[in-house]
Structures are given as C-alpha cells and as structure tokens.
C-alpha cells in the first residue's frame, strides 16, 4: 500500500525510543488541570481537574473507544493527545516519540500524522470559505501542493469520502449535516494521518446518516490502516466501532476492556450502571432488564471526591473506597487487556441493584447533587397528587 511506504520514509528523530511495539500511542499518567480565575486576592488557586492521571495505550490499526458522561474529561484527553492543550504533567508517546513537550514548531510535522474530526460540522467549518479551499487547507499550510495539483488532490479526497467532486466551489451551508461531516473527514484525511481522533463525530447526525458516516470511517480504516480514537457518549455506537473501550469518570479511566467484554462482563460498578442506563431499541429486552439508576449527578471536578471518585454514587461503596484510590489493574483474574479501577469489582452476573453502600451518608465526603428517586415514596406521592387540583378545575377566567 502506497501509504504504508510513505510512512516508512517519515524521518524518525534519533531521540525517539525505538521500542518497535504495536502501540501507536501511549499515554502515561496524563494530568490536565485548568486554573480557575480567583476573585479574592489571597485565595488559594483552584483548579478543574479535567484529566487526572490517565494511562492508556492505543494499538496500531485499531479503534480505541472512549466513553463517559459530560465533564468526564474525554474531550480534554483528546485535545491533550493532539497537543491542542499543553498538559500539566505526564507523558504522551506517539509512534515511539515523546511529544509531550515539543515546541509548536517541532510539533508541526507531527500534526500531519495526528488529525481530529469534531462533533459539530458547522462550528468546525468556516462558513465563508469554499469547501475546496477548506479541504485543501492542510496542503496549503504545509506547503505541499498548490494550484491545479492541490485541486486534483482535494477532488480525489472528496470522491473518496463520498462527496461529489464537482461541488468543489460550494459553501458548507449548501451541504447537509452528514455531508458536512464528510468534509471534516476529508480534511482530516488529507495527509494520510496515522491517528485520527474522532470527538463525537456522529452525535449531531440522524441515525440513518450516522450509519453512513460510521461505515465510511470503517472503510477508510481498512483502506489506509488508520488508527482511531473514537470518543462518543452513545455507547451502542462506540461498541459497534471499537476494538477496545476505556470508560472515564471525573477525569480518570475507571475501566478498559475489549468492546464485547465491557458489555458482557463489566467490572466497575460505574460501567455497569452506565450500560444499564442505555435505552435498548428492543421492547422485550427493555422490559426485562433492570436499570440501575444512579443517584444524583457527577460531583464537581474542582474538588473531586477522595479515594475512588465514584464512591458517593456507588451502590457497592465501602470505607476502603473513601480512603484509597483504587489503581487501574486487572481484577478477578482478568487478563492484562481488561484493567478496572475498583476495590470491589463486579463478578459476572452480579446485580448492582442488590447492593447498598456500606458507608453512611455523612461518610460520603462530597455532597452529591440530586438524589436517587424515592421509590418507596408511593403513598406519599399519591398524597401529593391528591393535593393537586382535579382536572378541569382551576383556570382563572
């Protein structure tokens, strides 16, 4: 394959650690804090702990999924890997080269190899520029092709991602949502990167269009041997595209597992609760399954809970979870490909709903926003219903 040869000619700096392994990317203990602007003069500076000690490796040619809820740090992690953010501490090793501290100038050649596709195809495309020049930007910036040559390359790309090359001179607004996402894909593909970070690439699209884009990404991966980091909150999409999946919660990875394993034998109670909350498009299964509805909301990342960050909401929480941060390592005899950060991992077939935390409410060091719905409040609820006006009454004239 032509792209494979092109890759071999890429100069590898002598400083690189030629470990020659099959991991394209290694992230070691990555930390990213965002400072909060303090108002009081002598106030201790606070930080948002967006990513707090993430370690993972991404094998070549595979799709590595990252799931988690809003604010868990998955997008920040992606931006750190693409060096769009400077990291607070930790290491990012891409293709054997430590890129954590590279200057902008030395980073530039590497930008060809790490590309991103963003969620919002409107926000990531300049509305006043023509599609041809948007997709041609990478060539212009890196000074690799100009004039007719650039146009030819761009049209090839457009054709490859399923856009009509004759639409070279159109504006982004003239395309539909799915087509716009294809423009984003074409732009990311311009240099045949090794790694494409897809940050919620299909979240804004309708199901039927979403499937088109997912298939396109799969085809491109097969053709060009791409490696994807695929970030999404839609678990069924991530399951479909990923080889292995990392689950994040409040800036930490709670579990990494091969896609099918995660869905069949989740170890971390958070994974279990997350999976049970996904609506199943099958009425029979959806009637049968037992949903674990988590109490409240995710605590603030400014002052995350001690120990395991999930403990204030965890049905299995025990005193050890409050005091000790569980390391991310294989549990209950799992292989090295399936580590989980939990003191009390779930056994196969275990039902989370059977558990109650063995820590008292005041031991839950962080006040949790919201609460589990009072399920036993049946009579009380009816009393409230009685207190409300009967239908047809009320209504001022």
């Amino acid at each position: 394959m032509a792209t494979g040869q092109a890759r071999e000619t890429t100069p590898v700096p002598a400083s690189a650690t030629p470990d020659g392994d099959d991991m394209l990317l290694r992230v070691e203990n990555l930390v990213k804090y965002f400072p909060i602007k303090g108002t009081a003069l002598f106030r201790e500076k606070e930080h948002v702990h967006a990513v707090d000690g993430v370690t993972l490796s991404v094998p070549r040619g595979q799709t590595f999924g990252v799931v988690g809820e809003t604010g868990c740090g998955k997008s920040t992690l992606a931006r750190c890997i693409a060096r769009l953010h400077d990291v607070t501490s930790g290491r990012i090793v891409f293709d054997g080269q430590d890129i954590t501290q590279l200057s902008q100038r030395r980073m530039r050649p590497l930008r060809r190899e790490i590309q991103m596709i963003f969620q919002d195809p409107i926000g990531s495309l300049n509305p006043r520029r023509r599609v041809g020049s948007i997709i041609g930007d990478p060539y212009a910036i890196h000074g690799l092709a100009a004039g007719a040559e650039r146009k030819r390359l761009v049209q090839e790309l457009m054709e490859r991602v399923g856009l009509n090359p004759e639409h070279y001179n159109r504006f982004p607004a003239e395309f539909s949502g799915g087509q716009r996402q294809r423009i984003g894909v074409a732009r990311a593909l311009a240099f045949r990167p090794k790694l494409i970070i897809c940050d919620e690439p299909v979240s804004a699209l309708d199901v039927s269009i979403q499937a088109q884009v997912i298939n396109l990404l799969a085809d491109l991966q097969a053709d060009f041997g791409l490696t994807y980091i695929f970030i999404a909150h839609d678990l069924s999409v991530v399951r479909h595209v990923s080889n292995s999946i990392a689950v994040m919660y409040l800036g930490k990875v709670t579990e990494i597992a091969p896609a099918e394993t995660l869905f069949t034998v989740p170890r971390h109670p958070y994974s279990g609760a997350l999976l049970s909350a996904v609506p199943v498009p099958n009425p029979d299964l959806s009637d049968q399954r037992q949903q674990i509805i988590l109490a409240g909301d995710v605590p603030s990342p400014i002052a995350p809970p001690s120990g395991c960050r999930f403990h204030p909401r965890c049905p299995k929480a025990a005193p050890v979870c409050v005091s000790e941060d569980p390391p991310l390592e294989p549990r209950l005899g799992d292989g090295p490909e399936h580590p989980a950060a939990c003191h009390l991992p779930m056994a196969e077939g275990e039902n989370l709903a059977d558990f109650r935390p063995s820590i008292s409410a005041d031991e839950r060091v962080v006040e949790v926003e919201g609460s589990l719905l009072p399920d036993d409040a049946g009579p009380e609820a009816t009393a409230i219903a009685d207190a409300l006006p009967a239908r047809g009454e009320g209504g001022k004239p």
């Binding site: 499937a211 997912i214 996904v278 909301d297 919201g370 609460s371």
Partner: protein, 345 residues
Amino acid sequence: MTLLEVEDLRVSFNTPDGVVQAVRGVSYHIEAGQTLGIVGESGSGKSVSTQTIMGLTRGAQVSGRALFEGQDLLTASQDQMRTIRGAKIGMVFQDPLSSLHPYYTVGWQIVEMIRLHDDMDKDQAMKRAVELLRLVGIPQPDRRVHDYPHQFSGGMRQRAMIAMAMALNPALLIADEPTTALDVTVQAQVLRVIRRMQEVFGTAVILITHDLGVIADVADDVLVMYGGKVMERADRRTLFFASHHPYTEGLLQSMPAYGGERGRLRPIAGQPPSLLAPPPGCPFAPRCVYVMDRCRQEEPPLDPAGEEPGHLSACWLPHITADREAIRRRVAHVELAKSAGPAGA
C-alpha cells in the same frame, strides 16, 4: 377516551427560499393516560406538528383540526389557548436552560405558573412547588426551590421543567426531545420521573424523540414521521418486531445493533427530501429499496397494515412482508439496468 384528535394537520412557513411545507397532512389521536411516541429524523415535522397544536408556531399557515376535549385548538382564540396551555396541556422542551428564565428562581417560576391559572396565595403555591420538586427527585426541595436555574445541573433543570409542566395536573404532557441533551444515566432518571408522574397523575404523554431506544422504553404507541407525513403507526412491539413501512425498517436497520455482531451498518442511502419542493408520491420513494413506479406518482394513504388492530402504514407494498426480498432484488435489477444507460433498457 380520546383525549386529543388531530386530523389532516398541515403547516407551512414562508421563507426567503419559498414555502416550506413542514407538516403535510398528519392525523393521529391519543387516548387518556397513554404514551404516544413520535419518532423521526430532523426535519420530519415531528416538533412542528405538536408546537402548532399548542399555538406556538407564529406566522405559519395552518389547516386541519386538533380536537382536545371537544375544542379545536387550531381555531381557539389566544385567550382560550392561554387557559389550556400549561393548565391542561403541559410542555417540556429539549433545552431546559433556555426554557427557564435565568433571572428568576426556579420556585418563583413555578409559583408564577400556578398562580396564573389558579387562585392560590403565594405561600400555598410555594408549598406546592416544593412538593412538586420533591416528587421529581430534587434533594432538599425546600432549600433548592430558591435556587436560580444556573445552580441546577442539566438533569435537575429538566426535572424542574417537568415539575413545572405538571404543576396544574394537565391531562396531556408534550415532551419534545426531553432527554436529548442529557447523558444516559441522567436520561434514565428523567424518563423514570416522566413515567412516575404518569403513574401518579394518569397523564397522557406525547414523547417526541429521534431515539428508538427511548421509544422502546416508554411508548405505548408509536408514530413514525418522515418528510412531514406519518409513515407508520403501530404499538411498540409491532413497530419493533413486525413493522411494515420500509422507512421504519431502514431506521431500525441503521442502528448499531444492540447485542448484535460488529458487522457493517445498513444505512438508508441518500438524504431526506427538501420540504420546499417535496417529491410527488411517497416522500420516502427516492431512498426506498422497494420503490415501484406507482410510489413516485401516487401518494400512499395511511391504511391498516398487518394483523394488529391500529397498525397503520402509508405504503403501497402488500401487507405481507414475506416476499419483500424478491421485490428488493427486482428493484435493484431495474435500477442497475437504468444506470447502465438507455441501451440496457
């Protein structure tokens, strides 16, 4: 008892580009206490049809009828609508942050809503607001009632919206993508709240969503919309296991199969139709794998299909879905011959 009956609803908007026919002859009904799911993609007209019923589409040309408790909502005066909106029909929208006023406390907004419709003094109304917040699972409601919307998390805001919509015990709750902006775990909380409110109050719910998983979870009956029209109506199980319309089939197939194998997805080819100049005949015909000549000319009526009573489908295909594969192959063959050029014909 039929609570709401919509007949041949048509809504169009004048835009600089021409007249957008957003809703093109939609009919449905909902029984008291029932949950009707409306599913469809962007631009299918699912939101516009319910907003029109509530009198929220200003400047639109509307025709048809929407009978609610015997009264036509489309011809009701502004004053009449004001006594219905909120009091008899509650609404919850997708984005709770833009539906709540940032300058007033959550409690104030619920109290205002109650007092607008009900003769009640402030303290009583505040008490009811607190009870409602407790019912939707807001912790320490007596304290949180004095919070501003920005002090609530996304899930709590949506629950506060539900509390507000339920404050006057409406007979019908219209929830327009109530969980789309929320994370799955929060979505599960909010859906459970809606279900509970329904159990407690016996409210009928119209749930608009694009997520078939949510539909499978909560709907009794489902309406599938496409291109401003109803394509299919069926009860939940029939829709998922014995659907008739090719669009429904395509929607189900394009989902990453939950519990299925990691194969290729089967998307629906092409793009949804432009509602500026919708195609004649069936709106789905240009993307349909079973398309026949008749589909491109004549519009199929929403007729009974299959064996289940109440199962309706707007499609010219025979009611038996068994010989679909043969039709699909024939269509593929004809299309191939067409694309091979006139010589092939």
